[in-house]
Symmetry: C2
Subunit: 425 residues, 2 copies
């Protein structure tokens, strides 16, 4: 067990605010030079970081963490090289800060513009994955924001080592170390305290499960980007290309079942159920997919070979499975499919598989989700896939940013007014 | 005293969500027709509304409300005509919903776009001004949002009458009445309940003083647009056109001293203090401006004729005056002015009066306020003045919207993905 370190969050906040003012003055070249310096330092201090990570892994093993979780915590020489490469990649991204979003000369001669600026100070709370420390710190730096980090306690030593690496590189570049700070005490009360630090922190980004997002929504006096829960749907109807539909469903469900944009519920038009469901079972059985099917679908799936199917209770359609499980329900028409998604969805990723122009249009217009799909896998709801260059988080709320958040989501704007001693009439 | 009406906020929220889905399907033409119908109905039912307003005014007078407040509550035939005209004006504004913010074909052939959509359900809490009821309801309708309104208790009857007018017009246009609902019970506990209605409400907009904004920030589990507090600064330095600077200061301070973008603190470079402050006193004295001046400024202002000046305590520089009062402080240089604004400002409206290019540039880059001014009055920080067509609120937070919020701030976007049975590699 590590000795707990006393943390003065208000002092950290104040220091972060001060650092953010220095960051806001940096040119893109200066920020990119700092990112290169961080990448170099990650390589130079890899041994130190790996030694600290080994202690985290040792503790984790002693605590009986699962192999899957331990693998998420683990850093290796190869992974350290990956972190350095990721950091250099952030340097290559285009800098959104300084862009003039709109500008014009008003009728009275005033020149008005909206200029993109850093947000200021970010607070980021995340799961036990040391790569997120580098990821968030570098994206914050690129956009001129100071950041206060709070990662999962299982990687405390690794995170502190990585933050030390970053701070060393920053100091060498004459950028305030306080631009990237870490809450070095696993006490959960500090999370609540961070959520109330509205005097210094401008935005909270939780990265983790639904429970963390709920805590932030309920406790924070600072604007929060929430997300974290994706009950995702596909609706397949007569006329859809069957082979294509099976490909999309398979990809949505099995390509990476543990993530939020993986498929949870398949809605099948009743008219194609008897032909489509056997093909679905044949396609998904080899992956070990388990079905929770409503009565009529259960009756069909139950007779298929090598198929694991359980009759669904109503609450099974409110499940985000995060595993190789799929709810299946038959619907009579598009209206019923839309109503099901409106009732059970979380506004994350929902799609239709169809060859009907009118139905596709209605689905896109009426389904109010962060990403709406026609004839494509829900797995595309991702910053990388959407070409954003980086993904800070995925938002399912509707303010500020929705869906995958790129660098722009870490910026705000200010109105800039140039006059010639203008007064308001 | 009116009998208190039982309010089922969850039922209102659910109804609002249902209505919002219908609103999202309306075309711009249909929404504009509804706005015209509301304007017609305002005219047709003016007598009924005025009768209800008269009862509010009678109650208000009995409670001993000030004449200024009573005037804010009062509706007249002329003001009713104004409300109808304002509603017709909203119909003429361009509809932001449906715009494609960005769109492209990805390398894999998927067509991706971001489409502007309504936010869904808004919750708006506002002061006792019946015109705000029409204002917010029509702007919400224009952007396809349902809204739950909660106005000041002093205008409960007037607001209920106006909402009845709106609902009648909506029903005549076959739009759900629940698109615009009003919390018809002045119990304050309902405000707190509204702030926790995250199952149905997507965004809270408080319109009122700093106390209301603080309550919302602390209590709400729904994203809130906060603002409401503006400690505004101007910094005047050597080389600035003196006559122009006096015009801008006078306009910023006295044109409408009770509002949030009015000037609160003037920072004067020490080198021009002895010449500038006497001119300032001569300019502002006829308006009855009272000064709170720091030591060196006090010494100069104290000797001016007909000048009311009090020696400022440190806390006087943290005051939003909302009256004909002005804090004055001398500073040695631009750095000291910037530091003062960073320490005492609220990020609302701050400006520099100068003829120095480098100083203007530094001020604009380093002052992180919603609106930053060079040689112009702080009073320009306003949706109308900035050409937004409408002003929903003024935000001093940095997420979603900053500064004056136009119709766009009442929208979000969704990602729309059109594929040809694409799967993620």
């Amino acid at each position: 067990m590590m000795k707990r370190i006393a943390v003065d969050l208000a002092a950290m906040g104040k220091a972060a605010r001060g650092a953010s003012r220095e960051l806001a003055k940096l040119t893109t070249d200066q920020k990119n030079a700092a990112l290169q310096a961080i990448a170099d330092e990650i390589e130079a201090q890899a041994e130190m970081v790996l030694a600290q990570n080994a202690l985290d892994i040792e503790d984790g093993r002693a605590k009986g963490l699962s192999d899957a979780l331990l693998d998420r915590l683990l850093l290796t020489e190869k992974r350290m090289a990956g972190l350095a490469a990721d950091t250099r990649n952030v340097a290559t991204l285009s800098d959104p800060v300084g862009a003039e979003i709109e500008g014009r000369v008003l009728p009275n001669g005033i020149r008005l513009s909206r200029r993109r600026t850093p947000i200021g100070v970010l607070g980021v709370i995340y799961e036990a994955r040391p790569n997120v420390t580098i990821d968030i710190a570098t994206l914050s730096l690129k956009t001129g924001n100071a950041v206060i980090l709070r990662g999962g306690s299982e990687t405390l030593r690794s995170n502190l080592a990585l933050v030390q690496v970053i701070q060393t590189a920053l100091a060498n570049q004459r950028i305030p170390r306080d631009a990237v700070q870490y809450i070095a005490n696993p006490d959960r009360a500090l999370v609540t305290e961070l959520l109330h630090l509205d005097a210094y922190v401008d935005m909270i980004i939780p990265r983790g499960g639904a429970g963390l997002h709920k805590l932030c929504r309920e406790q924070s006096t600072i604007p929060v980007i929430t997300g974290g829960l994706g009950i995702c749907h596909l609706y397949v109807e007569p006329g859809a290309d069957v082979e294509g539909a099976l490909n999309v469903i398979e990809n949505s469900k099995v390509q990476r079942p543990s993530v939020c944009n993986a498929l949870d519920t398949l809605l099948v038009h009743v008219d194609i159920a008897s032909s489509f469901l056997p093909k679905l079972a044949a396609r998904l059985n080899p992956h070990g997919v388990k079905f929770y099917a409503d009565g009529p679908a259960f009756t069909i799936l139950y007779t298929q070979e090598k198929t694991t199917v359980i009759e669904a209770r109503p609450e099974d359609f409110d499940q985000e499975w995060l595993s190789l499980t799929l709810s299946v329900r038959l619907v009579d028409n598009l209206d019923e499919a839309i109503t099901h998604i409106q009732t059970h969805g979380t506004g994350h990723s929902d799609g239709i598989l169809t060859n009907d122009w009118k139905h596709a249009t209605r689905f896109v217009n009426e389904i109010d989700s962060a990403a709406v799909f026609v004839n494509a896998s829900t797995r595309f709801n991702d910053g990388g896939q959407f070409g954003l260059g980086a993904e800070v988080a995925v938002s399912t709320q509707k303010l500020h940013a929705r869906g995958p958040m790129g660098l722009e989501a870490l910026t705000t704007y200010k109105w800039v007014v140039y006059g010639d001693m203008h007064v308001r009439a």
